[in-house]
Amino acid sequence: MTSAEGEEMLRLEGVSKRFPGVKALSGIDLSIRKGEVHALLGENGAGKSTLMKILGGIYQADEGRIFIEGSERKFAGYNDAIAAGIGIIFQEFSLIPHLNAVENIFLGRYLTNRFGLMDKAAMKRSTEQIFDELGVQIDLDVPICRLSVAQQQFVEIGKALSLKARLLVLDEPTATLTPNEAGHLFKIMRELRAKGVAMIFISHHLDEIFEVCDRISVLRDGANAGHADVGATDVDALVEMMVGRRIEHNFPPKPQPAPRGRKVLEVPEIQLAKGGPVNSFTLHEGEILGFAGLVGSGRTELALGMMGADRVHRKTVLRNGKPVRLNDPTEALANGIGLLPESRKVEGLITDFTVRFNISMNNLGKHKSAGLVSQKSEKQSANELARRVGVKAPSIETRVATLSGGNQQKVVIARWLGHASEVLIFDEPTRGIDVGAKAEIYSLMRELTRQGKAIVMISSELPEIVGMCDRVAVFSGGSIVATLEGDSINSGDIMRHATTGGSQ
């Protein structure tokens, strides 16, 4: 179902961009037709977001030209791009936490009445209309920081739509959505396509590409690596185009039978809030326990509460059979429990720090001599860990702020690889990670369990839950409604429990 040879909406010619120490893009060509959904693929750091920021006037290209509907344009800032009919949903959210959805959507273009005051009613009406069309329900009166991540994502989308863009860029919008919500987004995208809107869609979920896109362009190391029509290619071919070689993107084999070592972590009861559901779970040496469920089903909250990052009403936690007090992450760390947080930029990284500092930050004790940090040992270990997770950076002395989204995630993973913790909580570990790196992270996780560590993996990606977990706790509405093992770990059963709350 390739779109007809439509008119050209956008053409990029020979776009190059260099950052200090990094050639991010070299001579990129790209052509987008009206009314098509065009996938832009590439490994982490391939240059996708950079290219889109150039298109949006946020970065200036060192070389290259931008044509909109055949005529050359120069964008000095995002405003110029908006005026040319371009709307972008950025990879990093761009919402204002303490404004509500209406105020966020109209930010920069507030409707005013004849006194120059805001016409709140009119703006609210058209916001309601936008969300009606999107088919999502959002409380328009509360600050958006009180909305769920998914809701915020839809506010982003509503904001881009309200620009009446004719070319819409979606930079990894599904990274924070469940399959359900993503499906909803695709429905919206198809409707837009029918109205003639052109879209550039970036995602590391290759199955999504086949579901919603028409054509595909691939970047590799900042250069064009090929184009394809959706009908004329398959996942393997795309992966090869992205990575430049064939890769094994199967999951590493699960140990058979499932590991059932000693119980390294037991949570006989945990109640986050007074009157809320009481949950319990157990984690064995060498196993990967999945926390599956819809976005907002309470997986992250439970994990954070268990390890003491958030206050909870009541809990009992046993480490290796002994009760432990976990009132803050430090106590968790002292008891060998580490967390790879869900939102790397906000909760994981010091973006001003170098790769080295970020990797070693909670492990300085290991590099101490005479009370001071031994730089030599620190550097050595950081280099080694960065290499193991495949951080793509000029050196370990590079500031993390300048890394691509996926590479930033890898830095946080490297931190925990280097740590002696026995229990690791990986919250959405592959969010925003490219296929090649995903495979590496999966095998790293297996290797860790082989060394006797135990992992809780919170994930919204069913395939990785199914492919990686030895047991799966399914969440619904804040409760663990089922714990699956063996053959019952399959998409159908998990989804059934997650959506029905197990009360079938």
């Binding site: 908006i82 959210f93 936490p97 930010l107 005013t112």
Partner: protein, 326 residues
Amino acid sequence: MNATASHPTPPVPSGGFFTQLRRSTAFLPLVGLVAISVFMIVATDNFLSWGNLQNIALQSSINAIIAVGMTAAILTGGIDLSVGAVVALSGTLASGMMVQFGLPPMLAVPLGLAVGVVIGLFNGYCVAYLRMPPIIVTLATMGIARGIALIYTGGYPIDGLPESFAFLGGGVLAGIKVPILIMLATYLVAYVLLNMAPFGRYVYAIGGNEEATRLSGVRVSRYKLLVYALSGLTAAIAGIVQAARVTSGQPGVGVGFELDAIAAVVMGGTSIAGGRGAIVGTLVGALLLGVLNNGLNMIGVSPYLQLIIKGGIVLLAIFISREAKR
């Protein structure tokens, strides 16, 4: 900063007036004001008299007016330390115009206000366009404005202001002292500006996430410029009122006023990190400090002890309201 709160709480129902009030950042400061006032009513004879209430409002007025611009600056994530010096500069300049050049107040007052706006624009230009840190820019202009005021006056107060000008500081209209009316008018305008005009949303947006605001096509630099100009303006208004109240232009006045204004803003529930707060809260905060000053004097607490008690109460107030700040 990223807008995503990773642990979203469920949407709160909108609710009626009381719910609205409770959810407002000004709620806890208001409770504090009431609590302190009740204490003062019990502890002193004369606290609740009309005279004393006006007295409190009058004494709070200068700080409250300065705190309007300070609120805007803090909401954008900035700060303005030059306000105290601007009070001195605008007051002495307006006074000089009247005394030395015989200008009528109608002309001298706008000139005094203009100099505040000019300093504010300068601050804003450095902060918004040259991207210099507000705290240090305004620390520098604090010195510069004070220096100009001292040189202009030679260090002496400027005396002999016309009665019509003194009216701004001591006059009574409809039974209410003029500085109080000026304060209320300033707050009314600020309320409209910050809550009903686009300007206000941009101020909050900049403080909430400056980069994202810029990406939304808001001319961030221009609004920041305006915010500091506003702060210069309200400091200058306070300077005029101050000069009228002391019927002289004092080059040395206003030292430390910036700290009082910051205290009023923060006591009023505005987050020092920007993006969150309310102008009404600032008024409450300023009155709270006013009640404290007045009440401790009325009780007859020794001046040294007053310092300790005031510090303690500021701490207590922030301690109680800190949860609301999350």
